[in-house]
Each structure stands twice: as C-alpha cells, then as structure tokens.
C-alpha cells in the first residue's frame, strides 16, 4: 500500500530527535500562548513565525503546525476555566464548558476536550493522508483557468461561511488582494505602489499585516475594556470523566469528528465553522438531555472540541495539495512555506515527500503531545491565567517587535506593522472582519499570475473560464453560494444561527 509507505516515510521524518523536539516545543509554546486570553492562533502564529526562520523547512513547518493546534487547544482551556474564548473557534466551548466548571466539573470538561481532540486529531490525520494523493492527482489536471476559478470559489466560500456582513467581507478580500499586489510585478519588473520606498519594492511583509491587524489591533481593542476575569482555580476537580459521562459524551465525539473532518476540507471551512456546526447538530440530535445545553451538558464540550480539532487538521488538505489556503491560519502557513522557498502546491508532495508526509505524521505526534502535556500540566496553565493583562501585553509587544525586526533586520518592518495595527484598529471600530483580508493578501499575487496565464493561453478571450468544464463547475459553485446566502430566507437563518451560539 502506497499510503502506508508514505506514512512510514512521514513517521521516519517526524520521529527524528530534532523534529520531535521542535514539534514538542511548538505544541508547548502554542498552548502557552493559546491559554492567554485575547491572542488567537492567527496572532500566535504571526508572532512566532520569525522564530522558525533559522530552522530547516521541515522542522519549521512541523513546529508551526504544533503551535497552531497547541494554540487551538489552549483556547479551549481558557474557554472552560474563564469563560473567555482564547480564539473564535472555542466560543462554542465557552457555553457548556464554563457551566461545567461552575458545577465543579472543570476537570471532566478539560479531559473530555483533550481526549475528544486527540481522537478527532487521529481521525483527521488519517483523513489527510488518505485524501492527499487523489487531491494531488486532481490538482495536476488544473490549468491556470481552473486555479483562478478555484481561488474565486475559495474566497467566496471563506466569506459565505463566516459570520457578519457578506458584502463587507468581500470588500475586505478585495482590499487584501490589492495590498498583496504592492511590490515588484514579476512579469514586467515594474515596482507597483511602492512610492520609491526600497523596502516596498519587495512587497508588504505578510508578517507585518498579520501581526499588525490581528496582534496589535487586538491589544489596543482589549485595553479599552476593563478587566473582568473569574478563574475557577481551586475547583478543577477530578480530571477523568465518570463512566456515565464518558458513555454519554462519546457519540458526540464521533459526530463532531465526522462533521469536523468534512467541513475542514471545504473552502472557508476549518476549526471555526466545524465547532459552530457540530454544536448545532448536537442540540438537534440530543433529545431530553438531563442537563440542558447551555447549562453544562458534556456533549456541548465534546462535540465542538472534537470538531474543531478535526477541522483544524483537515483544513491542511487544500493548503498542502492545491497550495490554496482555506482560512487565515492556512494563509499564514502558505506564507511560512514561501519564506522557506517552498512554493505551495501539488508539486510539494513529489518534490519534498519527506516534508509533506513528515508534516502529516507530526500532526498525530503533536496531538499526542497535547494530551500528555495538557492533562498533567493543567495546574500551570491555570496559574498563567492569573497573570494580569497589564503585564501580558507589553510582553507580547516585545516578542512581536523582536520577531518583526528580525525578518530583515530592518526597523522599517516594525513601523509597517504599527501602521497595520492602526488599520486593524479602524477595522475593529468599523465592524470589518479582518480574516478575509489576510486570505486575499496571500492569494493576490497567485490570482493575478493565474489570470494572466489563462488569458494569455486563450489569447485574451475571457470566456475561457466558462468553456472549460472544471473551471465552469467551480464558478457555478461560487455563484450558487452567493445566491443561496443572499436569499432573504436563508440570510435570516444564517444570522440567527450565528447569534444562537454566541
């Protein structure tokens, strides 16, 4: 079986002492920062990206992946213990997780989250490994026209499935695409929108955008609110769920895993959507719950936690096989690969098999680390939660500052990041969701390149996007998504669905 050969190669790569070490460090730091409220996985990744520059590409990506699911998991810990979602995908976990903590079952909630996540992670990794080969084969059938249409579908999907105003999200994507075009045009060599600033000729650094918009802007926004945190430190309680709780929770884990694995692959999918969807499903499926949802039902923790971890894993599929990030986190991973001179896309699997399969195998190992780390170390994470924000944010700023500076050893990048911090703060004030901007920013140059190639091949005939069947199918899917969401009936339901859980 080719699959097993590939996985064997992957584990051989991931189990080297060096890669194990970086996987461990990644998961540890990711959890550490994920636990801190107010910093989500995107900001965490942007902040720690520069640290991985010095590493060989495989180790760097393994570490970044570790940081991602570490942060993802750390977010749930905060959600359960403090009722503050560390990141958006654990918003759902807050609802029942925090109520469980108030009932003195924080330990069981944390253990359920950890074990559910581990199970979901395992299934997710197998899913990634199994789907990778056929997806890559499909990708090789894609020409520039298909790629362009696929990116349109991906971008539309990303905004349709997110909450908030559709038209504003599309505008944010377009703004991201435009910002991505700043710098030297590869085809003509013309330096666009750089205004004689030599640093801008290389384009805007994507770490600056991500860190400014997500990191700095969030800090300033947080400073506006007075701190109010209530930590259930003394009552974490017995860690293992009781037999009754276990039997009650495990079907929810299975459902969450299945739903999360599928939703993760979709454009715009990933952890957030998976968590929301699975919570809604649980509420529908469970009849006459002993403890109602919203008051500490363990299924309300088990399902979304499994789903968001499964979704987190499988959202690697479009990124690894097609080179197209389905969400903002994967956009950062694409950025990281580009920095290490790996052009993401279907050719990665054949040109860098050790990196490709090593990364997949390391995801499973990372998930194992997560369980091992989190259950015994929960006490330390709880202590971390007590650190007041006024001490935390200067520390975050220090690490961001050094990180951005060290990319090019240039103070210009630091100033640029501050500028994006200002822009991000304005977005926050004007209710503009920043995640689509990052996606657009990463995809901008790719989209232009594929549009140019497609139009060159068709000798300037724009109908090429509609006459090639694969491309047409992708565009129809994108159009259908917009139409469906714009229908007044569904529009109302979509708004309700997002409000119900928050």
């Amino acid at each position: 079986m080719e699959l097993f050969d590939n996985l064997a190669l992957g584990f051989a790569t991931a189990l080297t002492l060096q890669n194990l070490f970086y996987c461990f460090i990644g998961v540890l730091i990711g959890t550490l920062i994920g636990v801190l409220p107010g910093i989500g996985p995107v900001a965490t990744l942007a902040m720690l990206l520069p640290v991985t520059y010095a590493l060989p590409p495989t180790s760097a990506l393994i570490m970044l992946a570790g940081i991602y699911y570490g942060a993802q998991y750390g977010g749930s810990t905060t959600a359960i213990l403090v009722n503050l979602p560390g990141e958006s995908s654990s918003v759902v976990t807050c609802i029942d997780g925090y109520q469980m903590a108030r009932r003195g079952r924080a330990g069981a909630a944390l253990a359920t989250a950890a074990l559910g996540s581990f199970f979901a992670g395992t299934v997710g990794v197998l899913f990634v490994a199994a789907l990778a080969l056929p997806m890559v084969e499909l990708a090789f059938k894609f020409g520039p026209a298909e790629y362009f249409s696929l990116m349109i579908l991906g971008l539309i999907g990303a905004v349709v499935l997110a909450s908030g105003s559709l038209i504003k999200a599309i505008a944010m994507i377009v703004l991201g695409l435009l910002l991505g075009l700043v710098g030297t045009d590869v085809n003509s060599g013309v330096s666009r929108f750089s205004f004689e600033i030599p640093e801008l000729a290389d384009g805007i650094g994507f770490v600056s955008v991500a860190m400014g918009v997500f990191g700095f802007a969030e800090i300033i926004a947080n400073l506006e609110q007075k701190e109010k945190r209530e930590v259930f430190t003394s009552k974490v309680g017995r860690l293992m769920p009781s037999k009754e709780e276990f039997l009650y929770a495990y079907p929810a884990v299975l459902r969450g895993t299945a739903l999360g694995s599928i939703l993760g692959v979709l454009p715009g999918g990933g952890a957030l959507l998976a968590a929301f969807a699975s919570y809604t499903v649980e509420k529908k499926v469970t009849r006459n719950p002993k403890i109602p949802f919203g008051q500490g039902n363990i299924r309300g923790v088990a399902a979304p936690e499994s789903a968001n971890n499964a979704g987190a894993q499988t959202s690697f599929i479009p990124m690894l096989t097609l080179g197209i990030p389905p969400n903002a986190v994967m956009a950062l991973m694409v950025g990281a690969m580009t920095i290490h001179n790996i052009q993401p896309g279907p050719q990665v699997m054949s040109s860098n098999p050790a990196l490709f399969w090593g990364l997949i195998a390391s995801m499973w190992i990372g998930n194992l680390f997560l369980v091992v780390l989190n259950l015994p170390l929960i006490g330390i994470w709880v202590q971390l939660l007590k650190v007041p924000y006024r001490l935390l944010y200067p520390a975050i700023l220090v690490f961001c500052g050094i990180g951005v500076y060290s990319i090019n050893n240039n103070p210009f990048d630091v100033t640029m990041t501050a500028a994006f911090g200002l822009l991000g703060y304005i977005f926050f004030k004007l209710r503009c969701e920043p995640a689509p901007l990052i996606l657009g920013f990463i995809l901008g140059p790719m989209m232009e390149e594929n549009l140019r190639r497609a139009m060159l091949l068709s000798r300037g005939d724009p109908t090429v996007f509609f006459t090639r069947p694969l491309s047409l199918g992708l565009l129809i899917a994108a159009a259908a998504l917009v139409v469906i969401v714009a229908l007044p009936n569904i529009k109302k339901k979509r708004e309700v669905a997002f409000q119900e859980v928050t």
């Binding site: 435009l178 400073l223 006024r390 944010y393 520390a395 500052g401 050094i402 050893n409 004007l430």
Partner: protein, 153 residues
Amino acid sequence: MKIRDQKNFWSGLMFMAFGLFFVGFAQQYDMGTAARMGPAFFPTMLGGLMFLLGIIVTLSGLSTEHPDGKVEPFNFKALGLVLGAVIAFGLLLRPAGLIVALFVLICVSSLGSHEFKLRDVLLLSVGLSLLVYGVFIYGLSMTIPVWPVFWRD
C-alpha cells in the same frame, strides 16, 4: 439624509477611498491588453470593484439600521502609546541596543493600561530582558545589538 449605521457608512467610504487610491496610482503603469496584461490591469480591475463595493456598503449604512451601528470613540491614548512604543522600539534597536529599546517599549506601552504600577513595570522590564537575552541572543543566536553604540567595542 440620515446615517442609520455609522460603521457601515464609514467603512464604505474607506473602501471607496482605497479603491480610488489603487485605481489612481495604477494608471502610471502599462495597462497592456487582455491577452498580455500589463502591471496596471489587475489593480485597476480590483480597485474598480473595491470602489463599487464601497458604494454599496455606504448606501447600506444610509438605508439599514444595525443594533451595533454607532462608532465608539477611538481610544487615542492606548492607540498612540502602544503603536508609538512599537515604532520607538524599532528605531531604537540599532543605535541604542536591545535592552534600552526593550525598556522603552515596555514602559511606554504600559502607560496605555488603566492601572499603571511603576514597580511592576520595572520588574517586568528586567525579567523580560533576561528572558529575551536568553532565548533570542543566547539560544537562537540572533544578531541584534544588545548594548548602545557607545558601549560596544
């Protein structure tokens, strides 16, 4: 005319401004043809789309109420202190070295908080200096100057 949703109204204007900006500055580059697109083609297309979307968002701000439509006043103090501290850090790093830059960043940015305690801030600066030195200089051997220019040999 009444603005019903200030947030949408202003973000629409912002999008329109961005659209105009990119379309305007793209015109100094070569447009090319549909088959051989020049550097101005895609930005002009996108900038135009951006402008149109901006109009729609602005109009929606005029026509539709939103429960969360009021733009809250900016916290210029936190904004200025945090971003100012970061910019100062970047500019100080080369001439003054890591330690000085770090103290400035922490002390200035801390002023943005509701509760500022000098003792805690100084302790934090010392602690973080040690940590940063250990991780970045000693551990990752990054080439960042540690001390001010006149102290280095």
